[in-house]
Subunit: 934 residues, 2 copies
């Protein structure tokens, strides 16, 4: 047999290993690893991801290829567990679960209790002495199997409420109603037997098929259903969001069932080796007595705390029993396993366990999802305790996780005085404020309209994923820290409060009530997902990272390793201050035009408009003289806020038409001030209109046609610097010319800078005012002619936003018409404005660097624009030898981390190359070698 | 002495040579060459262009550097001519003329009769016995010198009519009026003496200086005035138009005066060795008895014909004496010189001669300017007679000259019946129709407003140049074939009729009268510049080249040599037909959308609009089905017109918003047809609006988001081809995808082509319908990723219009705001949309070719768009290894010629490289080697 598709595990042995995640999926590999570690894993086997891929090529033919191998593995399981699959006297029951390379919680299917049938029912009753448990299990099997295997996997899409699952649920609800029962557990064995008969009838009627009685048929059904669920709508949508390739496929884990629902000495639980919300190094989990695993995560019952130390301190949790106290021996066993697992896997683990009549079974271990704050804290603490190296700590945190720390939280002062509606579990970090909505669809719709929404649900399920993504925050009435809502929210770093038991959600009527208050659709509420609290109204949010000590420590680790400098894009003293706090050392992009936006800019904006609507150089100069003090003031304040670090000031960039006033009043005031009629004003404004303003009269083109506009800015920069120097403060302005395509544009502007510099230096009695002269590289031609550009420019700053526009011919304002389709049908891997298109636009960036340094080896090179805060793009910038990246203040920490990761990856690649000396180093790394100066 | 600044000539000897044009200027080099050939050249010397350049560096200091050298040369002249400069008894008089590398007629200054002063006057009178001539010469010297040297060269810019020239003219007019004279020659010697006194007084009063009496001072004044005139306004403006570098400078030719105005045995003339208007191989020229050279070109007197054979046959010329008859011995001498000159210089020469009391003096020879038809005819005839090689013949014709042949002429049938106002000399070729204007400024102004104008002047002078350029045609009342107007018009290939003596121009009143008719400003007139005729009204124009036999012969010479294929951009059967006639063999660009423009397209346009305003794929498909037959019909007809040659059809390219109807009526009809309200229609149209449509939802982006739109076009193309094949006709459609940036776009469209092809082939019972699949390369990223693109595309067509837009970030619609300034201040050498920017955009084109052929060595590569008809761009396309160029039908002959020139230049470069084996061949040529297949 050429290919091995089935890997057995159990009894302290396993055919697979923990590092075979690609082949066995995450769950399968870790089950094998746990078995190898001698942990109590119910025996089973894993069908590989290759089998899944093969299934998509061959279809049902795969069965015959697999059958022999699977029967052999099944025999081993029977031997290990001392039971036989389909044996009426001592039947083995199996679970069948998906397991992809990376976890996709709730996105694919699971079938439990496979092997129960008319024949084995009685044998199991006889063996367990628990008829209720057996009949309940059978009822669950039919319910799950008919839904997952017989309906969904066959691609049947019934109208709402007509699906087999709903019909079976209704049958049970009807019976409970007839009997006057409240809970499922109130049903008697006879009730269950009647229900089973009814269930089978419904299956026959709705699906036109019998519920299969043959255990092997059941098993095959389960296996194929898992395969098929890989291409279910929800799974595809999840993969798209998470960026998981469709080609990976899922493995199938077939494992002997163990039961946590065999009475009060049985239990089931889910735990994290450290707190996944805060990162605190405490064993943290939830469990339920007499329950199956799905009961814990489904959020139907509020689960108990694992131990006393991590028990939530609210009313609801105060009285719940902990495993530590209730089953102390088993708890100790579990703690020992927890300690071994963390040491072995060197990361926080997310584990599932079941206690079957007192015996502990480990069902799963995997690297646990965590919030951003938790990821950072764990990385720092694991590095401190030498569990991992600093380099590894850096690689442990994703940009999204770091972003969570930077995301807003509720303003603590305001929060303390706000109207608290209720508490809940802190399932997703940070703060959120928005309007309440009660369905996922509504969340998506309102979000599209630009509204801020909080999705409020009784509990969430996988169908809600899109709505959860659209919402700023999620609130559920039920479920624990391991519920679906909590897992998904944590994965995304989204603010989330779960298990807020005090609220009663009426999705149909679109409101919820809490402590006598009614919150209707559209009402504003606020969440604190870090504390677990719900407030009425719209509370203000503030930046989160500054108070987090682990954040600071983590950044120190990153800064020690990284080589790239990190600057910020900032246009005001406030932004510069914020950027400095986030660790920016220098401003990479100060946009002169931004001083004309927003509040407080009315007067300079008005003068700017006068300038723009001038019809002669003389008229324009009058307005420019008026504008000068404002411009100098703002530049000086920003330079001062950067404490002597370089400040790159880009001269006026946008097409002038952007500043034409829209309101009648403003137009009239402008016309009066210019002493012209409204017609003349309109004529002048119309002359500024352009067909494609992005490629029109802007940037240096303005500086050349209206040199007086450049001159005013240059003078403002140099005078601001001179004044600071005179005040004994340090500063280094870098004058940057935008939208250049030819060195002669630079020569034109450089001559002006030199002239104005001489004048200003003379005025201030100085020989020299330190400054630099450079250019944006944002037009393809500028990159192609970079050797010439570098003869005049002392620095380059790659404007990859515009460079992406020109290189793709994509107007960023207009991609809405086709970009979603392009990404959906995989014509592009993603929006190139988010992550730099390394293979296309990146060629021009590399070309620009190489050619620029060919004539000016010491050329300072950076990037400004949004790619400067995107992890893969920053790594690329490092690899091709830039000196710095610049991004918005909030992204500065992400850039610092990405820059450190770049070094770690580079060293790794070097090691790899050293190990395989024949595989030459990448040209990119070579090109960058020794070129970057700190 | 390190640098030699002065080169003597005369007496059958010369220090300079004819190939030293860069150093001596064209005139100086040719005077030297004529002297070497033993022709009768008045002795003189040339001050080099280097001296001019040096003058702009050192100013008047140059005088001391030059003085010694010049005095030495002067002594030689004195010896040769047997006269002495400043000698009262036997004075030598000198002329001082400019002479740049290439002729700039009338743009720079000339001073004649230098050396006449109070002392030499009487000596000259004694020697010549012609007091009148001497005093008239003195009068002329003061007039010319005070204007050129004392006023203009000093940078004095008097108010209109206040200049010294005008004031002197007024003094003479006043005297003539007092005396009742009509002509200048009516003045007596006493009158002239009185005038000289008056002149000197006016000079003193107006310029505050004495007219210089020292001959050497006069000479230096003349030399420096010539230097300064290089940077005069008119000269700069001319250089800009002609593309002459400012750095060249001008030489100064100082030459002994000979006089054509010493009585009736004296004469002066200007001639061409062949007819410069038609190219006919006949000695052609004009002369005047008892006149100085300036009289012939100034157009004040109508000159006489040189010989009987070329005498114009109209009333005015019938009675004039020819040199052939009037001075037959001298004429024969001149003919012998003419024959030697043509043989020596191997090109048509433009010569000036003077006959001083029976002795022939050659004053100048230079390569003569010619009209386009003349250039082509001469090239063909000189090649036929083996005077030059075919390669040289090709290089002799400029694109502008060839363009003249393609330029419109008056429709002969209509012309024959039109109202003929009068005749004139055929000074500039082709036909023109426009509104009469009477000043150069008015011509410029009206042309800017988009009007077609004919500039009508008594005579033109260098101040009129801008207006002449702006006009479509030029008409003057006076002047001959060598007048200013004629020379300039011929240089530009502009339609021009001169010497239309029947008209009386009243520029002040803005009208002219002719045979009792009054034509006012704004009235339409039409010119036949090839025949020399003026018509009333607006006559229709037709294409000119087809009837010209020399054109056809010239094209055959080109086609034998060129290697590039030449195709045309054509969107209709009519255009395809025209293109075929102009020699296009294949269509390089058929723009689907053009079938929706213009007359006859109303119905398809309406359906297209329905399609565009559809809100669902279904609605769209209905409209597409309606559109299909129109599209197929047009494609089929165009393919058929191309007679089996390949036709590249570009799928729909522009943003849909371009087709939104503007008129209320059309909008209403559209809304009705779509069964929607006007509000809904507006909403749908608004959704199509884009901020930067050039980079928006267009080209293949439409084809991917609305695949049904691509599919309809593909089906139309393949069905059209299948139908033609079924009719026994050959065709090869090439399906071209526009605006691509990634190979996956091509894969998407290719899959559709393959599917539709299978369907259409099936429908027509064929296995295969021959077709090709390819892409535009017009987005920078497509060029960068050309290796991947070529894995799917079978051909590339470089769309350098869009590629230039994206590479420069220049929206072609919006460059008006800065491009003039960019060209004016030399930031760019020219508009990159006219001539391909080889060093920038060209890099991407080369990159695209190299990478494309790296994965697909046989890739067919061409260019479409306007650079395909621009000579330097076509040469570039040849050098980098393209297979074909495609351009508008009218430019096809230019492309054919440019492609031939490319081969000639390539062979020349190869020979050069072979001669100097160390200088490596250019990489470009190497890259192209062996790649192009015919």
């Amino acid at each position: 047999m050429a290919v091995k598709y089935v890997y057995s595990f159990g009894d302290g042995k396993a055919e697979g290993r923990g590092d075979q995640k690609e082949l066995l999926g995450g769950k399968g590999a870790n089950l094998a690893e746990m078995a190898r570690l001698g942990m109590p894993v119910p025996a089973g086997f894993t069908i590989t991801t290759e089998a899944c891929t093969e299934y998509y090529r061959k279809g049902r033919k795969l069965i015959s290829l697999l059958d022999k191998e699977m029967r052999k593995a099944l025999a081993r399981v029977e031997k290990s567990m001392g039971k036989k699959f389909g044996d009426p006297r001592n039947p083995l029951l199996l679970s069948c679960r998906s397991g992809a390379r990376s976890s996709m919680p709730g996105m694919m299917e699971t079938v439990l209790n496979i092997g129960l049938n008319e024949a084995t029912l009685d044998g199991l009753v006889a063996k367990t002495g628990n008829a209720w448990f057996v009949w309940d299990s059978y009822r669950r099997l039919i319910q799950m199997y008919s839904d997952v295997v017989m309906e969904k996997a066959e691609g049947i899409e019934p109208a709402e409420d007509q699906g087999v699952r709903k019909q079976l649920e209704r049958a049970m609800d009807k019976l409970k109603q007839e009997r006057g029962y409240k809970l499922d557990t109130d049903l008697t064995v006879d009730d269950l037997k009647r229900l089973v008969v009814e269930y089978k009838g419904i299956v026959r009627r709705v699906l036109g098929k019998e519920f299969p009685d043959d255990p092997m048929e059941q098993l095959w059904g389960g296996v194929l259903a898992v395969f098929r669920s890989w291409n279910g709508k929800r799974a595809i949508s999840y993969r798209r969001i998470e960026g998981i390739p469709d080609e990976w496929g899922t493995a199938v884990n077939v494992q002997s069932m163990v039961f946590g629902n065999m009475g009060n000495s049985s239990a089931t639980g889910v735990a994290f080796t450290r707190n996944p919300a805060t990162g605190e190094n405490k064993f943290f989990g939830e469990w339920l007595i007499n329950a199956q695993g799905e009961d814990v995560v489904a959020g139907i019952r509020t689960p108990n705390p694992l131990n006393e130390d991590t028990r939530p301190m609210d009313e609801e949790h105060k009285g719940l029993p902990s495993l530590e106290k209730g089953m102390s021996k088993t708890y100790k066993e579990l703690v020992a396993i927890r300690n071994r697992l963390e040491k072995h896997f060197r990361d926080m683990q997310d584990i599932e366990f079941t206690i079957e009549e007192g015996k502990l079974w480990m069902l799963q271990t995997r690297t646990g999802k965590r919030t951003g704050p938790a990821a950072v804290r764990m990385a720092v603490e694991m590095a401190q305790s030498k569990l991992i190296k600093p380099e590894e700590a850096i690689m442990r945190v994703t940009p999204a996780q770091l972003n969570e720390l930077l995301l807003p939280v509720l303003d603590r002062d305001v929060e303390d005085k706000a109207i608290r509606l209720c508490g809940g579990l802190p399932a997703g970090p940070g703060g959120a404020t928005g309007q309440a909505v009660f369905t996922a669809d509504q969340a998506v719709e309102w979000a599209k309209e630009g509204k801020s929404v909080i999705l409020v649900r009784e509990e969430t399920n996988p169908e809600d994923v899109e709505g959860m993504r659209a919402a700023l925050g999620i609130l559920t009435a039920r479920g624990g820290m391991t519920s679906h809502a909590a897992l998904v929210a944590r994965g995304w770093g989204k603010c989330c409060v779960v298990g807020a038991g005090a609220i009663e959600v009426n999705a149909h009527a679109r409101h919820f009530t809490v402590n006598g208050k009614k919150i209707k659709e559209g009402d504003w509420i606020s969440l604190n997902g870090t504390r677990g609290a719900v407030y009425e109204g719209r509370l203000p949010l503030v930046a989160g990272a500054e108070e987090n000590p682990y954040f600071t420590k983590f950044m120190v680790i990153c800064d020690k390793i990284r080589k790239l400098d990190v600057r910020a894009n900032a246009d005001t003293p406030e932004d510069a201050e914020k950027a400095y706090k986030f660790g920016a050392r220098g401003i990479g992009l100060f946009r002169t035009e931004h001083m004309f936006y927003g509040k407080g800019a009315e007067e300079p904006l008005f003068i700017l408009r006068k300038m723009i609507h001038s019809s002669s150089s003389e008229e324009r100069k009058v307005a420019l003289n008026e504008l000068f003090p404002y411009v100098k003031r703002d530049m000086k304040a920003t330079m001062q806020a950067m404490r002597g670090y370089p400040v790159t000031i880009r001269l006026l960039d946008p097409p002038l038409h952007e500043f034409v006033p829209q309101s009648e009043d403003e137009r009239r005031r402008l016309a009066n001030s210019l002493n012209i009629g409204m017609d003349e004003l309109k004529k002048r404004a119309d002359e500024l209109h352009e067909v494609n303003p992005m490629m029109g009269h802007r940037g240096v083109r303005l500086g050349i046609t209206y040199p007086e506009v450049s001159e005013m800015q240059i003078r403002a920069i140099l005078e601001a610097a001179a004044e600071l120097l005179a005040e004994g403060k340090k500063t280094l302005p870098e004058i940057m010319i935008p939208v250049t395509c030819d060195v002669r544009e630079l020569r034109h502007q450089k001559a002006m800078v030199d002239r104005v510099h001489a004048e200003v230096a003379g005025k201030f009695g100085k020989k020299n005012i330190p400054h630099m002269f450079g250019t944006m590289i944002e037009i393809p031609r500028a990159a192609l002619k970079a050797d010439e550009m570098a003869e005049v420019a002392e620095f380059f700053s790659f404007g990859t936003n515009d460079l992406t526009q020109m290189t793709f011919g994509f107007s960023r304002d207009d991609i809405g018409g086709f970009m979603p389709e392009y990404v959906e049908s995989k014509i592009l891997p993603g929006d190139p404005f988010e992550t730099l298109d390394q293979s296309g636009v990146g060629q021009l960036v590399e070309c620009g660097i190489q050619r620029g340094r060919s004539t000016s080896p010491k050329l300072k090179i950076g990037i400004c624009g949004e790619h400067g805060g995107d992890e893969p793009s920053v790594i690329f910038c490092h690899n091709i030898g830039m000196n710095y990246v610049s991004c918005s203040p909030f992204r500065v920490p992400i850039a610092r981390m990405a820059a450190a990761k770049a070094v770690v990856l580079e060293n790794k690649a070097k090691k790899g190359a050293a190990a395989k000396p024949k595989a030459g180093k990448k040209a990119k790394t070579a090109a960058a070698k020794g070129k970057r100066k700190k």
